[in-house]
């Protein structure tokens, strides 16, 4: 399926749209084409049925004409004069009939008496029998009366196809005195005349000798007519219905070089005392389909145009989608880089526009969050800020063991009297900054600044296994940092600062303390007071130390080897029954 994955959306859309359109158009084309073909065949078949009726009508008209002709002939005085003679003068009669052939346009006219003896005949080459097809028709017509007065027969040595009509010579009507027999050939001229009115190819085929079917008359070229005759004979033998036949090109119809399909209809026509003949009516499908082919070529042009239009449209749509998507993708990189100020301007109302708006809103949100976090970082320790962001500012708390560090600046009160307020604050901040750095360097969290005092926590809000170790290390670091600061101050010509640090470890309650509007993460408990109390002990000169811790902190040390405690004694904390052992701490 790898080949099916498109790298670009536009290509995918193009392929999809064009593919769908191609399938639709191809289906439409093939449906239209086959419908055209079916309809052309249907139309051709209907035309052929019409042609068959036209043929019957043409024959019927000939017969009717013959009947009218006969009644005119029987009303003619001349023939009566000839027939009044006994015996009849055959030569005169024949010449009378011959003049009738001129007069009425019947190719062959004969006369029979009531006993069906041939009295006169204009075509001895064609008609020489007495008990032949005419006699049969006369007998049938006299027995059953009209209109069974006609039929098809072969006449003459070459057995050419003729339509025969017998009509009475009335003397007077309806008394029949003689019978006229008229014959007209069903030949190429007749077939051509039929074709003239119907545009249908007509072939008359005799299958008397099924092995050698005979073309009696045709409008087709001889070679094509031969194919038709053979097909008819084959159809007769196999009892298959002949509906379609491919014939070589008809002159002036060079539509198909291989020949054209001819929609074919085979009708049979009874003969007088002979096997029926086949009348093959045919219409070439090519001209019948010409209009449909035009339509189909037009359809192809329209399809090509539709495909081109669809391609352009697909590319436009794809561009309309992929461009903003690319912009959106680029914008995510901008946001990922931390640039929340740049806004994505997509001027659209659709889903992509909504996405851009959402991204812009996200930028705003991210910027807001950053700002809040920055503020938080400055106001609370990073650990507290992280915990707030992670867990939310929920009220409540948890009990945990925490090491609390209190630090106080010595002589700040006298200092504050000597220095102007701005210098004082600058000095205080400088001091607090150094102390904070030392505390945070050891994983401590500044809980709050109380004037010049610092309260810091170890083991909260993030639990630390070595909180006591860290707290004492931080306290020692603070001493060193202050020493550094004092050297700087000495260089500046200022008096040195002093510090007192108290450290205690106790179980306290840690959590967000305050109102709904304002919260502080802090710890409360007896241990906090103990820490503050211990810190105040550093002021006593007899202890000779700036750093005091409790036994609880020493007990909580993970690595006590680094610390060298010196017992100072016991102190009592207000509100507490037990005294606390305190130790001075120096670095090992």
């Amino acid at each position: 399926m790898a080949w099916f994955r498109f790298r670009r959306f536009s290509i995918r859309l193009l392929a999809l749209l064009l593919g769908l359109l191609c399938v639709t158009l191809a289906t439409t084309y093939s449906l239209v084409s086959s419908a055209n073909d079916a309809s052309a065949r249907e139309h051709a078949r209907a035309s052929l049925e019409l042609g068959a009726r036209l043929f019957e009508t043409a024959i019927r008209q000939r017969i009717d004409l013959s009947s009218v002709t006969s009644s005119l002939m029987s009303a003619d005085d001349a023939i009566k004069q000839v027939l009044l003679e006994t015996p009849i003068d055959t030569k005169t009669l024949n010449s009378t009939l011959a003049s009738y052939t001129q007069r009425v346009g019947a190719p062959a006219i004969t006369l029979f008496d009531l006993e069906r003896n041939l009295l006169g005949n204009t075509r001895p080459d064609l008609i020489d029998e007495t008990e032949g097809p005419f006699a049969y028709l006369i007998r049938r017509a006299s027995e059953r009366e009209m209109p069974e007065n006609n039929g098809f027969s072969y006449l003459g040595k070459s057995r050419d196809l003729h339509a025969l009509v017998v009509a009475p010579l009335y003397a007077p009507y309806p008394n029949i005195a003689y019978w006229f027999g008229l014959a007209f050939p069903i030949d190429r001229a007749f077939a051509e005349k039929l074709k003239e009115t119907s545009r249908i190819e007509v072939t008359f085929v005799s299958t008397e000798d099924i092995a050698h079917p005979r073309v009696l008359a045709t409008t087709l070229p001889d070679a094509s007519a031969k194919i038709v005759a053979d097909a008819v004979a084959l159809g007769r033998r196999t009892r298959a219905q002949l509906t379609d036949l491919v014939l070589p090109d008809v002159p002036a119809k060079a539509l198909a070089t291989e020949g054209d399909h001819y929609v074919t209809l085979v009708k049979t026509h009874d003969m007088v005392a002979e096997d029926p003949i086949s009348i093959v009516l045919q219409i070439p499908l090519g001209p019948e389909l010409a209009a449909a082919r035009d339509l189909e070529s037009f359809l192809i042009v329209v399809s090509a145009a539709a495909l081109a239009a669809a391609a352009i449209l697909a590319l436009l749509i794809a561009r309309g989608v992929s461009q903003p998507v690319q912009q959106l993708a680029a914008h995510t990189h901008v946001i990922a880089r931390g640039d929340y100020k740049t806004r994505l301007a997509l001027d659209r109302a659709d889903e992509l526009g909504q996405l851009a708006d959402a991204m812009n809103a996200m930028s705003v949100g991210l910027a807001e969050r950053d700002r809040v976090r920055d503020l938080l970082d400055k106001n609370v320790s990073p650990e507290v800020a992280a915990q707030l962001i992670r867990d939310g500012a929920a009220l409540g708390g948890q009990e945990r063991e925490v090491t609390i560090l209190f630090a106080d600046l010595r002589g700040f009160t006298t200092l504050s009297e000597k220095l102007p307020p701005t210098d004082l604050l600058a000095l205080l901040n400088r001091y607090l900054d150094r102390m904070s750095t030392a505390i945070e360097a050891h994983g401590g969290v500044i809980d709050k600044f109380i004037g010049d005092g610092i309260m810091a926590l170890f083991g909260a809000p993030v639990a630390q296994g070595d909180a006591a170790d860290r707290a004492l290390a931080a306290a020692l670091a603070m001493e060193r940092a202050l020493a550094d600061l004092n050297r700087e101050l000495a260089a500046e010509g200022r008096p040195p600062l002093g510090i007192g640090v108290g450290v205690n470890t106790a179980r306290v309650v840690a959590g967000n303390i305050g109102s709904h509007r304002r919260l502080n993460y802090s710890v409360i408990g007896d241990g906090v007071n103990v820490a503050a109390r211990i810190e105040s002990e550093t002021r006593k000169p007899e202890h000779r130390t700036n750093l005091i811790t409790s036994a609880a902190t020493l007990a909580a040390l993970r690595d006590p080897e680094k610390i060298f405690p010196r017992l100072l004694g016991k102190v009592y904390v207000k509100g507490r029954a037990e005294s606390v052992e305190i130790f001075a701490v120096a670095a090992g």
Partner: protein
């Protein structure tokens, strides 16, 4: 039939001695009486003597019609065809029994033909297509023509074997039946025939001045 009743009827017929009347009752397929039929009796044992009438018969042309549609007569009878019309006529026959034509003859003149062969002679006029008449030339003196009620009677027929024949212009061929008349037959004999007539084809005479046509 019970013998007593049969005897009673025979007794009634025998009032006319040795000859009897033969009545024909002719109806068509739907039972309607058939007029203008020629009935005849052909004696089978001894041919009856024929004596044509001394005076010629007459079939006049009047009002562009023949005066008589069907005329039965015996062989040897002469018929005059007087033109009593206002127009000329050209009466002819192409029937094998007698072919003739009277070349155009004016009102007041006439043609004359003696019918010497038995058979049916169809008469026409070359000028007026609708004019038609039949002469039935018979070889027997025993004949009659049915009236409008479809009956015809041949009177005083001697006992013997006969072939009763019925001819009508709309019959394909004659209806025949052999009958035997005994000397004891004393009452009129009735022969009923149901005739299968062909459709009545005729040329309708066109009104003067308008175009005519076949119907």
């Amino acid at each position: 039939m019970r013998p007593l009743a049969f005897v009673c009827i025979c007794a009634a017929i025998s009032l006319r001695a040795s000859a009897t009347d033969v009545a024909f009752r002719l109806v068509d397929a739907v039972g309607a009486p058939v007029a203008d039929a020629v009935v005849s009796l052909v004696a089978l044992d001894a041919p009856a003597k024929i004596s044509p009438p001394a005076e010629p018969l007459e079939i006049a042309q009047n009002g562009q019609e023949f005066s008589t549609f069907v005329t039965p007569l015996v062989v040897g009878t002469t018929v005059n065809f007087p033109n009593e019309d206002k127009v000329s006529h050209q009466v002819y026959s192409l029937s094998p029994a007698k072919k003739f034509v009277f070349p155009l003859y004016k009102p007041g003149t006439r043609g004359t033909v003696t019918f010497d062969q038995p058979g049916v002679v169809a008469l026409g006029c070359n000028i007026h297509d609708w004019m038609r008449a039949y002469i039935v030339v018979l070889g027997t003196p025993l004949f009659g023509k049915s009236a409008r009620d479809g009956t015809a009677t041949i009177t005083a027929v001697a006992p013997g074997f006969y072939r009763a024949e019925v001819w009508h212009p709309r019959l394909g061929k004659n209806e025949t039946r052999e009958i035997s008349l005994a000397a004891s037959d004393i009452t009129a004999r009735t022969e009923s025939f149901t005739l299968a007539l062909k459709p009545d084809r005729r040329i309708h005479r066109s009104p003067e001045g308008s175009g005519g046509g076949y119907k």
